[in-house]
């Protein structure tokens, strides 16, 4: 069947291959900006440098935090508004803008090559856009996670301060006999307060440190895309050819042999042998 319809069956493969490869070439070139962030436990806890990071490596915690943030519109909006795409985003409607934020979120890849290292990659159609988004992302991440820690520590300080004040007032109104037992509670509250102020100081210090700034975006290699396009084209064309062949076979009611003629009640008296395509009408002149 294939050799009979070789042109019609080969054509889909060739066309799909060419179209697939062409489309792969037509895909706009992408750029990726990389950044590396150093993460360690906050003081006064022991550093994890030189260890595997224990049960909860700092890099994993930071990567999870960033991934969570990338899932929020508020964070993405802040990132975009601090990037070169801010003007473009502000012109968009709510639905279009939301889609845009999602696409920005999806363009970010977060990896943890080691217990203290977070690798962040941002893809973009334009090199400056990719760099701009990556810079904005890092700044926003640093700001948000510090802000979260500080707010939490401040809340802790306020709480322990209130406890301490309450303990101090109680002590003043107590009789001598009760003072001794209350002193212990006051000391405990004072310790808690002191600890929370230390925690606040630690929170105010940066929890992450940027090692590699995303100051350059490199073009993404297209070999894989082209290979996929070409392979997809070949596969699609082959599938199309196969389907076409099945259709042709299903619709083919042509006679192929003398037995079929006899089967149909026709008198078969022989056949002209195949004497070869284009040379069908040729032979050496002495043959006649």
């Amino acid at each position: 069947m294939f050799f009979r319809h070789k042109l019609i069956l080969s054509l889909p493969i060739v066309v799909c291959f060419v179209v697939g490869t062409g489309l792969a070439f037509a895909v706009p070139r992408e750029y990726v900006a990389h950044a590396s962030v150093w993460a360690d436990t906050r003081v006064p806890e022991e550093s994890t440098v030189g260890t595997t990071g224990g049960q909860s490596p700092p890099a994993a915690g930071q990567a999870t935090l960033l991934t969570q943030m990338l899932a929020t519109r508020a964070f993405l909006r802040s990132v975009v508004q601090g990037s070169p795409l801010a003007a473009e985003y502000l012109e968009m409607g709510p639905v279009e803008g939301d889609r845009f934020l999602s696409s920005v979120g999806l363009s970010v890849t977060v990896l943890t090559p080691g217990p203290q290292l977070v690798s962040i990659s941002v893809r973009g159609d334009d090199a400056s856009d990719a760099v701009g988004i990556a810079e904005s992302l890092l700044g926003e991440f640093e700001r948000v996670q510090t802000e979260q820690a500080v707010n939490r520590a401040k809340a802790q300080v306020n709480f322990t301060k209130r406890q301490l004040d309450a303990a101090r007032e109680s002590m003043e109104s107590l009789t001598r006999s009760d003072r001794e037992s209350a002193q212990a509670l006051f000391t405990e509250a004072l310790d808690a307060y002191n600890n929370s102020t230390v925690a606040l100081a630690a929170a105010e210090a940066a929890g992450v440190q940027i090692i590699d700034q995303p100051d350059i975006a490199l073009p993404v290699g297209r070999r894989k895309t082209i290979l996929f396009g070409a392979a997809g084209g070949l596969l699609g064309g082959a599938t199309l050819s196969l389907l076409l062949m099945l259709v042709l076979m299903a619709r083919d009611h042509s006679i192929r042999g003398e037995d079929e003629l006899a089967g149909a009640g026709l008198l078969s008296v022989g056949s002209i042998p195949d004497f070869g395509g284009r040379d069908a009408g040729r032979a050496h002149a002495t043959s006649v």
């Binding site: 009611h253 078969s268 022989g270 002209i272 042998p273 070869g276 009408g281 032979a283 002495t286 006649v288």
Partner: protein, 233 residues
């Protein structure tokens, strides 16, 4: 060059220049000769033997097909050549495939006077024992080939002890082979293997007089079907 070879070349050239050859030569380009290969001649010799086993005495064979482009001309040329050369029976190869001579043909056979009326005068002896006769050379301009005129022609050839192999048109709706076929002793229906639907063949066989002998053409055509289709229309 031997006399036979020169005659063969002349046959090929004349064949190409005719209506039938002109159509076939489309595949080979202008100026190239249509030739009859050994395999075709040997295949046709076997077909003639088989026909003779079915009908011992026959003097005329009409080659028809259900559809255009089945290989009528190839088979007719092969049968005539085989009959004339392998079996030594003087044979006339008739090109009756063009049923409308008035349509005009820019190439006329060498030495032929169109419409002179006597077909035997128009026989073009291209090989010893093999003559070629085209429709245009014995019918007056504007006259179509009818069963009566074909019967007359066959009678005249019979009187000269010439066998006849005719390349007839395709079956309706492409041609009027069903009418002309009645004039022949044997009708051969040529079928292209792997191409012609069985329904078309049985329908054509039913429309023909008697029981046609069927020949399977396994040769791949160098002439696209759409081209021969157009030529027959």
């Amino acid at each position: 060059m031997s006399g036979e070879a020169a005659g063969a070349d002349q046959f090929a050239q004349t064949w190409v220049n005719g209506t039938l050859g002109q159509r076939l030569s489309l595949a080979f380009g202008p100026g190239e000769h249509l030739r009859v290969p050994d395999q075709l001649v040997s295949g046709c010799t076997a077909i003639l033997r088989r026909l003779r086993a079915e009908l011992p005495e026959f003097r005329s064979v009409g080659v028809v097909s259900a559809l255009p482009g089945e290989g009528r001309s190839t088979l007719a040329a092969g049968l005539a050549t085989a009959w004339a050369t392998a079996e030594g029976q003087p044979t006339a190869l008739l090109d009756l495939s063009d049923s409308n001579p008035a349509s005009g043909d820019p190439t006329q056979p060498t030495g032929a006077t169109p419409g002179s009326g006597d077909p035997l005068q128009q026989l073009d002896w291209v090989l010893p024992g093999l003559a070629l006769l085209r429709t245009r050379s014995w019918l007056p301009p504007g006259t179509t080939v009818t069963r009566g005129s074909v019967s007359q022609l066959l009678g005249a050839l019979e009187a000269r002890r010439l066998a006849a192999v005719a390349d007839l048109p395709a079956m309706p709706p492409y041609g009027s082979a069903d009418q002309l076929a009645e004039a022949f002793d044997v009708v051969v229906l040529v079928v292209r293997a792997g191409s012609t639907p069985l329904d078309a063949v049985t329908m054509a066989a039913d429309a023909l007089p008697g029981r046609p002998a069927v020949v399977l053409n396994r040769t791949r055509s160098a002439v696209p079907r759409w081209l021969t289709h157009g030529a027959d229309r």
